[in-house]
């Protein structure tokens, strides 16, 4: 059976409590779920013997600036068994800017989540090592947020003392 039909079918049977929304754009399947289910659904997608999404390619976020749920965390996972790519999307609001980590499921997500935290300030609960990835530890801003100016903030990166 085609994976595009199999995945929603399986989700409905195995995880009946999870509400999800499926879109198919340009041949890419996206599942939108609520943020409290992310660990549960990730575990299922990885461990199910018919799906086996064992490879986590990427974790990132999108800042929608003016929308109510300001951020969307995007997970990009790949099934080596079926050569199939799947995208998981989870909305995160600025007022509660945190989500559970999936680095316990895919170790590869560790650095990607750190990068997302560094760039958007989204906290990943239970993350083993949530430090900034690129920016210095004392940097106060989140550069990829839409309200961070392109030229940077003068004085935000102090020069070393003489």
């Amino acid at each position: 059976m085609d994976l595009k039909e199999l995945i929603p079918q399986k989700l409905k049977v195995k995880l009946s409590s999870v509400n999800f929304e499926i879109t198919d754009y340009k041949g890419e399947l996206t599942i939108k779920i609520d943020k409290k289910h992310i660990v549960e659904i990730s575990k299922f997608l990885k461990s199910d013997p018919e799906l086996e999404f064992k490879l986590c390619s990427d974790v990132t976020a999108v800042d929608w600036a003016t929308r109510k749920n300001r951020f969307t965390v995007v997970y990009n996972i790949f099934s080596l068994k079926h050569s199939f790519r799947l995208r998981l999307k989870v909305d995160v609001d600025e007022s509660d800017c945190s989500i559970d980590t999936v680095s316990t499921i895919w170790q590869a997500a560790n650095w990607h989540e750190r990068e997302t935290f560094d760039m958007y300030g989204i906290k990943f609960n239970n993350h083993p090592d949530l430090r900034r990835m690129y920016m210095p530890e004392e940097f106060e801003y989140y550069p990829l947020r839409k309200d961070f100016p392109l030229m940077g903030i003068p004085g935000s990166l102090p020069l070393p003392k003489k």
Binding site: L55, S83, M133
Partner: protein, 416 residues
């Protein structure tokens, strides 16, 4: 004696003075130390910084620190048009800029619904494979140099120089090529460029054999790298290895096969894999991949179709400068594309190619205007570096250099 008393732990000193041998000198042998390697270390291939915890010469902990080459390319992408970003992709993986160009335009074309003509696709495939060869040559050479075989570096760079000469004819630049365009390539591949490619491929394999003969039987080289930095298949998948590194662990994961793009499904090539997952396997795998790429380039030259190299979509594809200066329609389109961009429809896509280091992908979100709302670069080196602590723990400090060389990170890409 007075000096000694100050430095040695009083408990141990007491034991020494009383000549007791029931006291284990654990504290005296406490010799864990933290070593800071990089970001200016010559063997870290750029500005990679490693914090190593050592027990004697053995590594018991490793924390990589990134960000010394962070230029904010994702932020910059959000503030420029899709065309303007092409030159910036050159600066990601600066050892195979052509492959980055191809990856970017393929992602934009998927987003905007443009299809490049067949000839352009073949040219893109050719440059992507040549970029792979040139990148692997540097990887092999630098790896051998890191473990002490300096000659190889000179020999592989000599071969790479020939690829750069091909770029020179093809697009006028040797390093930062920016040769591809959305909807095609900047100009048709000239007959002399194709002739040079053919010449290069014909003389490449004997030269590669020379390189191999120099170190494949070299005991010093083999013993430095055999069994060093091994990782199992499951760990490699879980930690997100890709490209040659994951194939050296026995996983047949190659996007040219798993998710074919361009015309790779028309090509006949093998995906070499090894099962050991150590430095030596990664080295052998790169050699094999060079051969397979040469095979693909040969087929491309044989099958290269004739025709246009730019899609006929005037509102999306930048016209050639000759036409802009002489024709009204083209001038208007040029003005509109340069000033307002190509405005792909609202949506999001992810497109990845098999770059020389691994899965090089772009995740683009469009809100329907000329600039991408979000651009995420999924860079292979970033992922490959994540595996580094796992590889080096338990090895000697001199092996770290070999392991970094064998996974071939490019900091321009890892730091974005």
């Amino acid at each position: 004696m007075h000096q000694l008393e100050k430095e040695i732990d009083p408990k141990i000193l007491q034991a020494l003075l009383e000549s007791r041998n029931d006291y284990t000198l654990d504290d005296a042998l406490e010799n864990e130390m933290i070593l800071n390697m990089g970001p200016q270390h010559p063997a870290t291939h750029g500005v990679l910084r490693l914090l190593l915890r050592l027990d004697g010469e053995r590594i018991i902990g490793c924390v990589p620190e990134l960000g010394y080459l962070h230029r904010g390319y994702e932020k910059m992408a959000e503030n420029m048009s899709y065309y303007e970003y092409i030159p910036h992709t050159d600066r990601l993986d600066y050892l195979s800029p052509m492959a980055n160009n191809v990856a970017w335009v393929l992602a934009v074309e998927k987003l905007a619904g443009i299809e490049a003509p067949k000839r352009a696709q073949y040219i893109r495939m050719m440059i992507a494979e040549l970029a792979r060869i040139s990148s692997h040559l540097v990887a092999i050479g630098a790896f051998a140099m890191d473990v002490g075989a300096l000659t190889i570096f000179l020999w592989t760079l000599r071969e790479r120089e020939k690829v750069l000469d091909i770029w020179d004819i093809l697009c006028g630049a040797r390093f930062t090529n920016s040769y591809t365009r959305i909807g095609g390539v900047a100009n048709d591949a000239q007959p002399e460029a194709l002739a040079k490619v053919k010449w290069f491929i014909d003389q490449f394999e004997p030269n590669l054999v020379d390189v191999e003969q120099l170190i494949n039987t070299n005991r010093i080289f083999i013993e430095r790298v055999d069994g060093v930095g091994a990782i199992s298949k499951d760990d490699a998948i879980d930690l997100g290895f890709s490209g040659p590194n994951i194939r050296a662990c026995g996983v047949e994961f190659d996007l040219r096969r798993n998710a074919p793009y361009l015309c790779y499904d028309e090509m006949d090539f093998k995906i070499p894999t090894y099962t050991e997952g150590d430095c030596l396997a990664r080295y052998f795998l790169r050699l094999d991949e060079c051969r397979e790429s040469a095979k693909i380039v040969k087929q491309i030259l044989d099958k290269m179709p004739q025709g246009d190299v730019q899609a006929n979509m005037p509102k999306k594809v930048l016209p050639h400068k000759d036409e802009v200066y002489t024709k009204m329609e083209e001038l208007i389109h040029d003005f509109m594309i340069v000033n307002f961009g190509i405005n792909p429809p609202v949506g999001e896509i992810y497109h990845a190619i098999e770059g020389s280091k691994g899965e090089l992908g772009f995740y683009l979100v469009s809100k329907g205007d000329g600039k991408p709302w979000k651009c995420k670069i999924r860079s292979p080196s970033f992922n490959n570096l994540q595996v580094l602590p796992k590889l080096v723990i338990g090895h000697l400090i001199s092996d770290v250099v070999a392991i970094i060389g064998s996974i071939d990170p490019i900091m321009g890409e890892a730091d974005k």
